[in-house]
């Protein structure tokens, strides 16, 4: 019975996988701007995203958060546009827009009815070169960013835990600093710091333009040439971020914050897809499958065994991203079930990890994860925005954008032995960092602790 079901699924998925994802075309302008276009003619819309290869991992200590503050300032006026006018123009064209800053990159996007793509290009190209960075505007906007930090981090116990966790798991590599920056760095930051940061990174040869929509690539290239083409390239000196040395022993960190519910985070340093090696490497795909075995839905091990059977976790998640400019982490996060404590939860989670090292995953689990990956590959094509986001992430990391379509195939090739091999190689105690949130009573207490961090849009 099971065999038959699995065979049917794999056959059906093979067919679904064949359903043509939109065509991806690419061209690099003379000034170095890389333009990637994916046709998707379902609706008369277009999403345009401009990605800069600069993120919080490029920032020096003492000025953390600069990439993100600059992202905010990109809306505050150019030689041609008044503060916030960019947003008004997009709004009046029926568009939606925002931006995002990550450890690895900074990006700006507009979603529009397809005939208005030029509006996006004209204004996005303008602020690539002509940003004003007025000190008074900066003085107001830095306050907004501090409010954002308070909202997302300072007053969120789980975010505080994550921030402190990252700061412990990474000793040397700048992933140890939060994307939004430390509050003390935001307090001393000046408009002139941002000016230098902008001049250093915001140039066409350090950017990638991704367009997904009901468009013809040739017309997009022509339009890109018209608006972005005249911007001159400037030399970019990349930062060589120090590599994180191999971890040689378990690390622990506790955060005490006003909270009601304890929580726990475990993280192991793991590799990511490396540019230029996509044909031979398999470890990131095996790690992705491993993550799905633990937490790929309600039938995966965490929900089935820890939440439903043992009732030791109220919830438990595993996450891993195979894409990054530097080696990342496989995270396991959990909240104890009512009446259970973090210690019990930690042992249960570690026992799960040990089992991955000790025995191969079952054929059934493997088939289920592969079915999910294949189906998700179709589901995600339902969103224009998400398709652009995936393409941009691959491109800015230096990976082949064809991976988007090859991903299912690569995951399909993963074996149970490979999953066990990556568990043995990376999910070891010596490579583990554990973070625990200790709740302080919420009532009758004053704040407290400074730390925080997360990814964000303007």
């Amino acid at each position: 019975m099971r065999q038959t079901v699995v065979a049917v699924i794999l056959f059906a998925l093979a067919l679904a996988g064949c359903s043509q994802s939109g065509k991806v075309s690419e061209r690099t302008l003379a000034n170095g701007l890389r333009v990637i276009v994916k046709e998707d003619h379902r609706s008369p819309v277009v999403v345009s995203e401009l990605w800069y290869k600069v993120g919080s991992m490029d920032e020096p200590e003492g000025l953390t958060g600069m990439s993100h503050v600059l992202e905010h300032m990109m809306f505050k006026g150019t030689a041609r546009l008044k503060p916030n006018e960019f947003s008004r123009i997009i709004a009046e064209n029926g568009g939606r827009e925002n931006a995002f800053t990550h450890y690895d990159y900074t990006g700006y996007y507009q979603m529009l009815e397809k005939s208005r793509l030029a509006v996006s290009f004209e204004n996005e190209a303008d602020r690539m070169r002509n940003l004003v960075l007025d000190p008074e505007e900066f003085g107001r906007e830095i306050k907004v960013v501090m409010e954002e930090r308070r909202l997302r981090t300072e007053d969120q116990p789980d975010s505080l835990l994550y921030e402190k966790f990252m700061n412990t798991a990474y000793r040397v590599h700048p992933y140890r600093n939060p994307i939004i920056g430390w509050m003390r760095d935001l307090e001393i930051m000046k408009a002139s710091d941002l000016r230098a940061w902008y001049d250093r990174w915001y140039t066409p040869n350090n950017a990638i333009l991704v367009v997904v929509g009901d468009v013809q690539p040739r017309e997009v290239f022509t339009l890109a040439e018209k608006y972005y083409g005249p911007i001159k390239a400037r030399e970019v000196k990349p930062v060589q971020a120090p590599a994180e040395p191999k971890q040689d022993g378990e690390r622990r960190v506790r955060v005490a914050a006003p909270a009601e519910v304890p929580s726990l985070i475990l993280g192991y340093h793991v590799p990511v897809l490396a540019p230029g090696k996509s044909a031979v490497e398999w470890e990131p795909y095996a790690l992705d499958v491993l993550t799905g075995v633990l937490d790929g839905g309600d039938s995966a091990r965490f929900k089935r065994e820890l939440v439903r059977d043992a009732r030791v976790a109220a919830d438990a998640d595993a996450s891993y991203s195979a894409v990054g400019r530097a080696p990342g982490m496989l995270y396991i996060e959990g909240t104890p079930a009512r009446g259970r404590d973090v210690k019990e939860l930690e042992s249960a989670l570690r026992a799960q990890v040990k089992r991955l090292r000790d025995e191969p995953v079952s054929a059934e689990e493997l088939a289920r994860v592969k079915a999910q990956v294949a189906a998700r590959n179709v589901f995600q094509r339902d969103s224009y925005y998400y398709q652009a986001r995936l393409l941009g992430t691959l491109a800015v990391t230096g990976l082949d954008v064809r991976l988007l379509d090859q991903y299912v195939e690569r995951v399909n090739a993963v074996t149970a032995e490979q999953v066990q091999a990556v568990a043995r190689q990376y999910l070891t105690d010596a490579n583990l960092t554990v973070g625990v949130l200790d709740p302080l009573p919420v009532s009758g207490r004053k704040p407290r602790i400074k730390q925080g961090g997360s990814d964000h849009g303007r």
Binding site: V5, V8, I9, A12, A16, R42, S43, V45, P83, S87, A91, E92, N93, G94, G95, R96, M111, E113, K114, G139, R140, E141, I142, K143, V144, V145, M146, E147, R150, L151, E154, D155, P157, P258, E260, V261, G297, D298, S299, A300, R304, V307, R308, R311, A314, A337, R338, A367, A371, A375, R376, V378, F379, R381, D382, Y384, V442, K446, P447, R448
Partner: protein, 434 residues
């Protein structure tokens, strides 16, 4: 000049014509369930959503949380299947299942590849748990404990505390006052039998709307509707929800919380779906605080003063009139001036209405972005669900642009003056001491 105006009119008419909504096929099953289907073949996927008038507003007596737990327990056991078999049954074919209950409705979602073998396998389980959930007592204990952890977690979030307090204080005895999950005391006593009888009464044809979007023919969609929600018993239509009483005077609630920011919400009872003032209020609110970073509130609070990262206003139209509210978070030290500023922006907007430029910009945004509202199966399904459940005309999306274009500044001013009374608002502040 004349030529330009004429051209603009022609273009607008063309745009309205070109931007009709999707073609909706609609029929009613023998048991009363109403089906809404949009056929799309670009992607090999199918999305279905069953909607029941079975949200927390239908919790009776003091059984707060029954609707939510009923929804959560659907995939804990059904027919001969236990929770493991249900989860594996969906996920082995790559399908995604979800069930949720809000105040107005309970929704049960399935997304699957459209390959018939995969789809049928997923729909088979879907139908079983809609029609024959078993609500195993053991699993209820676990889900109950899970709800308690969620409720406890809300207590560490100033935003969640604010939201709950706001709805409680604004709605008083009305069912919308209660949080869908219930509270610690009510959740403790819910029994398995209460869930089973809630399901029996509410998950019935007369109380069901069913949305299908995706890679199917009309004939297949009919078969699927019949094989899933078509199997529900007929049941009875529920009575209308009571009307909430608007506040008669301003009311302020301040709740101390150890945080660096204060979370502020102010508002009042707003409007229901299908309200005759819907379009003037909708366009007006876009200008006041709905238009992201270009609204009056955002301009004043964020762009000019740096008081907040996020400030917004919205109407939440529901079966019975839902709230109108304004929200922001600011560091404790800025609380007083920020609140004063927000009040003055709202008061002025209610008194004066929008400027001609603001109205024009709002219309351009709301009509020019129409295509973006419907550019995925998921968004189409979301709109269908609202049209279906709230009984909006099938032509709602086709007429949307015209309705927006027809709104005048005077209509907005008039509607806001009649519907929003700044001197009778509830204000809730959750945050640190000064």
């Amino acid at each position: 000049m004349v030529a330009r105006v004429l051209l603009a009119a022609v273009l607008a008419a063309w745009a309205a014509l070109a931007q009709a909504g999707p073609k909706i096929q609609h029929w009613t099953l023998d048991n009363g369930a109403r089906v809404y289907f949009v056929e799309t073949h670009e992607l090999p996927l199918v999305q279905v959503r069953a909607i029941f008038d079975a949200g927390s507003a239908r919790d009776s007596g003091n059984q707060y949380g029954v609707a939510a737990l009923t929804s959560m327990m659907l995939n804990e056991g059904a027919g001969k299947l236990n929770a493991d078999a249900i989860a594996a049954g969906f996920e082995n074919v790559g399908a995604e299942f979800g069930a949720a209950a809000d105040r107005d409705w309970a929704t049960v979602d399935l997304r699957s590849l459209s390959d018939r073998k995969l789809l049928d396998a997923a729909l088979d389980i879907y139908a079983t748990l809609l029609t024959r959930p078993t609500f195993p007592a053991q699993n209820l204990e676990r889900e109950r404990a899970g709800v308690m952890v969620s409720l406890q977690r809300d207590e560490q979030s100033p935003g969640a505390i604010n939201e709950k307090t706001f709805m409680r204080e604004l709605y008083g005895e009305h069912p919308y006052a209660r949080h869908p999950l219930g509270d610690m005391a009510s959740v403790k006593h819910i029994t398995r039998d209460e869930l089973a009888s809630f399901h029996k009464r509410h998950y019935v044809g007369a109380n069901t709307w069913f949305v299908i979007v995706g890679d199917l023919t009309g004939r297949e969609a009919r078969r699927i509707a019949q094989a899933t929600v078509g199997q529900l018993s007929k049941g009875e239509v529920l009575g209308a929800l009571p009307a909430p009483k608007p506040l008669e005077a301003a009311k302020v609630r301040a709740i101390p919380f150890p945080a660096t920011q204060s979370h502020i919400r102010l508002g009042a009872v707003g409007m229901a779906r299908g309200d005759p003032d819907y379009f003037p209020l909708y366009v007006g609110n876009y200008i006041l605080g709905g238009g992201g970073l270009v609204s009056r509130l955002s301009e004043a609070v964020r762009e000019r003063n740096g008081y907040a990262y996020s400030v917004y206003s919205y109407f939440w139209p529901m079966q019975a009139p839902g709230p109108f509210l304004v929200g922001l978070q600011t560091k404790n030290e800025s609380r007083t001036p920020a609140l004063k500023l927000v009040r003055s922006v709202v008061e002025r907007f209610v008194a004066e209405g929008p400027t001609a430029e603001e109205l024009e910009a709002a219309k351009k945004h709301l009509t020019g972005g129409f295509a973006l509202k419907l550019d995925s199966n998921r968004k189409i399904a979301d709109y269908l669900a609202v049209i279906a459940f709230y009984g909006l005309p099938l032509t709602y999306l086709d007429e949307f642009i015209g309705r927006i274009e027809a709104v005048t500044g005077e209509q907005i001013r008039d509607a806001f003056r009649r519907r929003v009374h700044p001197d009778k608002m509830l204000t809730v502040v959750v945050g640190g001491g000064r």
